[in-house]
């Protein structure tokens, strides 16, 4: 019996070896079929995206305005996407570092570029970048910040008109203005104001929004151009004297100031910055469903009642914007064309 068993066992073992070889062949087929299915089926029916955390590449340092705005949105974005989002900070190159990383990444939807505008467009003009405007497509903006002019609370001017009249009565460059950077939207805005009024300011870039606002409070400058919402932290010690936008939609937050154009009779274009998400452009052709899913989740998050309530609690509900990708793409390209007119001004030595 024993002997028989043994031989059986042996035989079985031998059989198993043969079987395994056969199995390999079947397995191989199985892998083949599965991989074909994996490629074809998702394209036809949508896959389980996201199967791993999606990375948001942030073009500024942690703790900045962009980072904070993203953090506020992330829980709701995750809720509607049904997956995790992780933030990766890649400041540098005036947003070019983050843009390059995402533009050159695999367009599988696992990399999102978070960048401010018009900074994004200005980078094309002021930097030598290795990507083009066609390499990235927007998912849309998620927050906006229109420009305002702020002076210290104890300043003698109650509106921009008074300040401009004062500046005209004094030698040029008497009024000192702080802006974040020389390649930023607020520098351009002040330059446009100069052009329209004939006044010459002493415009000093402070390397960031925070230092620029600090300089106003510290008395180093007389005027600053900043965002409505970004500058709320200095609202108690300063006052808004003009809104650089077509209308003042935020009277409570801006000391009921009138717009630049209302006060001066000028025809200046809007000064407004956005924070937006971008994706590698090829995702639209290679993973169209993931693109749709990401965009939908993002837009659902922006309209999520809880998110809106949270922003309302901060008094920042007006900061939230929503725009579909296609119109935003068109607007972004138009802005780039518009800004290219100022190329000489931005790069002037």
């Amino acid at each position: 019996m024993n002997h028989l068993k043994k031989s059986e066992h042996y035989h079985l073992k031998g059989g198993r070896v043969v079987k395994t070889t056969k199995c390999k062949g079947k397995l191989f087929n199985l892998v083949w079929v599965t991989s074909i299915l994996l490629v074809v089926v998702p394209a036809a029916f949508g896959d389980n995206f996201p199967e791993k955390p999606v990375t948001i590449v942030v073009s500024t340092s942690p703790g900045g305005g962009l980072d904070t705005a993203i953090r506020q949105l992330v829980p709701f974005f995750e809720k509607h996407l049904g997956g995790k989002l992780v933030l990766q900070y890649q400041p540098g190159g005036s947003t070019a570092v983050a843009n390059t990383i995402v533009a050159k990444s695999k367009p599988d939807g696992y990399m999102i570029d978070a960048v401010g505008e018009p900074h994004y467009q200005l980078t094309f003009i002021t930097q030598k970048v290795s990507y083009t405007i066609d390499d990235l497509i927007p998912m849309g903006p998620f927050s906006c910040d229109p420009g305002v002019y702020r002076v210290r609370k104890d300043a003698p001017w109650n509106n921009l008109k008074e300040l401009i009249d004062y500046a005209k009565s004094k030698p040029p460059r008497t009024i000192k203005v702080s802006v974040s950077e020389r390649t930023s939207g607020n520098y351009l805005a002040v330059k446009q104001l100069e052009e329209a009024t004939g006044v010459t300011f002493n415009i000093v870039p402070f390397g960031g929004g925070n230092p620029a606002r600090l300089a106003l409070l510290g008395g180093q400058v007389d005027l600053t151009n900043a965002g409505v919402f970004n500058s709320l932290s200095i609202a108690e010690k300063s006052k808004v004297i003009a809104v650089h936008y077509q209308e003042n939609r935020w009277p409570e937050l801006t000391d009921h100031a009138r717009t630049v154009n209302q006060q001066l009779g000028t025809k200046l274009s809007n000064s407004i910055s956005y924070n937006a998400f971008w994706l590698p452009a090829k995702i639209k052709t290679e993973f169209p469903d993931r693109y749709k899913k990401l965009v939908k989740a993002f837009h659902d998050a922006l309209t999520d009642k809880e998110y809106v309530a949270q922003m309302k609690k901060l008094g920042l509900e007006a900061q939230v914007v929503r725009e579909d990708p296609e119109p935003h793409d068109r607007a972004s390209r138009e802005l780039l064309k518009e800004l290219e007119k100022y190329k000489d001004l931005l790069l002037a030595k």
Partner: protein, 514 residues
């Protein structure tokens, strides 16, 4: 103020808050001890988790991380000359020398006690005068910031190393490297060699890790053992092994020098309030001052407790100082405080001056938590660093690859880029060349941080003044800074003359003193 402190006490002394202080300290310690990573990396990582907490608990959590990392960074700096955080670079100058002498436990004990005292004293000062000093940060305009940077460089070049000429050489190299960036006014790239990553300047942490840690490995790998007398391990008692004896020695060494603690704390506090300066500079300034005013400056850098105390007390004093502009003005001076303010937004509170009015108990509870965290560094620090003391007994042939691996991983993970890793190794080699030629590394490190601050603020001040250079003398703070700068430059020669005179006085024959 008293009522606010009283209202803050129940917030801090809740089970939850104390738990998060402890947890924060541990997380901070680990991130601080890992080369390349620091408190801001830890804070960015835990920020999403704090959404579910109350804001005060979240901030207390961050305060714990901050304090833990400040202390944690000193441990690898002392043990293997690898600063875990930028601030710990100054600590390694004397700490590592003590380790080589077989006094690692004592050096860490000193660092721990100095961290604790620096944190507590600065926390108490900030607690008492946070209101009145809230506007100090505003007084530091571009002209003043330029002078602070100028002062820092002067102090470091004249005091940290004994050879002023070689220090200046090192600082000049640092300036040259710092110039590899976008121009601060036009934004045009300079010396970036087409590397986009250089546009915002060379990443600082990889340079630091390269110059200190990687360079050290070249020397360490030639040794049989890290500590000169490994034999003592055999006879060591349990108390010694656990570092309890070292902790005790450290306490004694530290409390014997109350004036040094106080001066280091004040330096840390003032430079902590000043936006954008950071711990690396503050600690070196404190170290330089301690050496300048010491009766035995020649012993600095050879492993004396004063060197560690000056750096570490200042390191943790910066924590308290950094809270001032963040809470009172809503203006962060560093990445760490920026993340703390980001937590405000996530909890539906707008940071700014109104926070001190509307949320005063919360602000005071965070300041109190800094004091509590600092006190807890003492017991928790012993537990956390005791196992690390064994590092000094690992044979260099195993230790060197482990440290190089940790450095590479840490530096890579700052921004997931190999660029940082290459920078680290290049500077490891640069550090080797410098060390062979006896050129000190700290001036280069400081010039790398202060170069951009000095340049940007000089350009701003120059623009603000429309080219009128008297602008640099126009405020009370600038005048004070100028006086200190001139004193720093003349201090050494004057001391020499003074010593010469006093020696001659004590020498009746009138023979030249040796």
């Amino acid at each position: 103020m008293v009522e606010n402190i009283l209202a803050a006490l129940p917030i801090l002394f809740s089970v939850k808050a104390i738990l998060f202080v402890g947890l924060g300290l541990i997380i901070g310690f680990i991130f601080g001890a890992l080369p390349g990573l620091s408190s801001s990396n830890a804070a960015a990582l835990v920020l999403p988790m704090t959404i579910g907490m109350d804001l005060d608990v979240a901030l207390i959590f961050f305060a714990g991380i901050y304090c833990g990392a400040q202390y944690g960074g000193s441990v690898p700096a002392i043990l293997v000359n690898t600063p875990g955080t930028p601030g710990a670079a100054a600590t390694s100058l004397d700490g590592y020398q003590m380790t080589l002498r077989g006094e690692a436990a004592r050096a860490i004990g000193i660092s721990r006690m100095a961290s604790m005292l620096g944190g507590v004293v600065s926390g108490v000062i900030v607690l008492l005068i946070v209101g009145p000093i809230s506007t100090i940060a505003l007084k530091f305009g571009p002209a003043e910031l330029f002078l602070v940077a100028f002062l820092g460089l002067t102090l470091i070049s004249t005091t940290v190393s004994d050879d002023t000429r070689k220090s200046m050489l090192s600082a000049a190299l640092g300036f040259l490297i710092a110039a590899m960036s976008g121009d601060p006014y036009y934004g045009a790239p300079r010396l970036t060699f087409g590397f986009m990553a250089l546009y915002e300047g060379l990443p600082f942490v990889p340079v630091l890790v390269g110059l200190f840690a990687v360079t050290e490995m070249f020397f360490l790998c030639r040794k049989e053992s890290l500590v000169s007398d490994t034999g003592s391990r055999v006879s060591a008692t349990l108390i010694e092994i656990l570092g309890i004896k070292g902790a005790f020695d450290g306490i004694v060494d530290t409390v014997k020098r109350p004036f040094l603690i106080l001066s280091a704390t004040v330096v840390g506090l003032v430079l902590g309030i000043t936006p954008g300066i950071g711990t690396a500079v503050a600690n070196f300034v404190s170290y330089g001052l301690a050496k300048g005013f010491s009766k035995k400056p020649e012993q600095f850098g050879k492993g004396i407790p004063e060197g560690i105390i000056a750096s570490e007390a200042c390191d943790n004093a910066v924590c308290g100082g950094a809270m001032v502009p963040s809470f009172t003005l809503g203006l962060p001076g560093s990445t760490m405080t920026a993340i703390m303010l980001s937590a405000f937004y996530l909890h539906g509170v707008l940071p700014g001056p109104q926070v001190m009015v509307k949320q005063a108990p919360m602000v005071y509870s965070v300041l109190l938590s800094i004091i509590l965290s600092s006190i807890l560094i003492l017991p928790l620090g012993i537990v956390l660093s005791a196992p690390l003391l064994y590092i000094v007994y690992i044979k260099p042939k195993y230790l060197v690859p482990i440290i190089l691996f940790l450095c590479t991983a840490g530096v890579y993970s700052i921004s997931n880029s190999m660029f940082n890793v290459f920078v680290m190794f290049i500077f490891g080699f640069v550090g080797l060349l410098m060390r062979i030629n006896h050129i000190p590394a700290p001036p280069l490190v400081i010039a790398l941080i202060l170069g951009p601050i000095a340049e940007q603020n000089f350009v701003r001040a120059y623009l603000l003044a429309d080219g009128d250079l008297t602008y640099f003398f126009s405020s009370f703070i600038s005048i004070i800074l100028w006086v200190i700068i001139i004193a720093a430059v003349l201090f050494k020669p004057l001391m020499k003359v003074f010593r010469g005179v006093s020696k001659r006085k004590g020498n009746p024959q009138g023979l030249p003193g040796g």
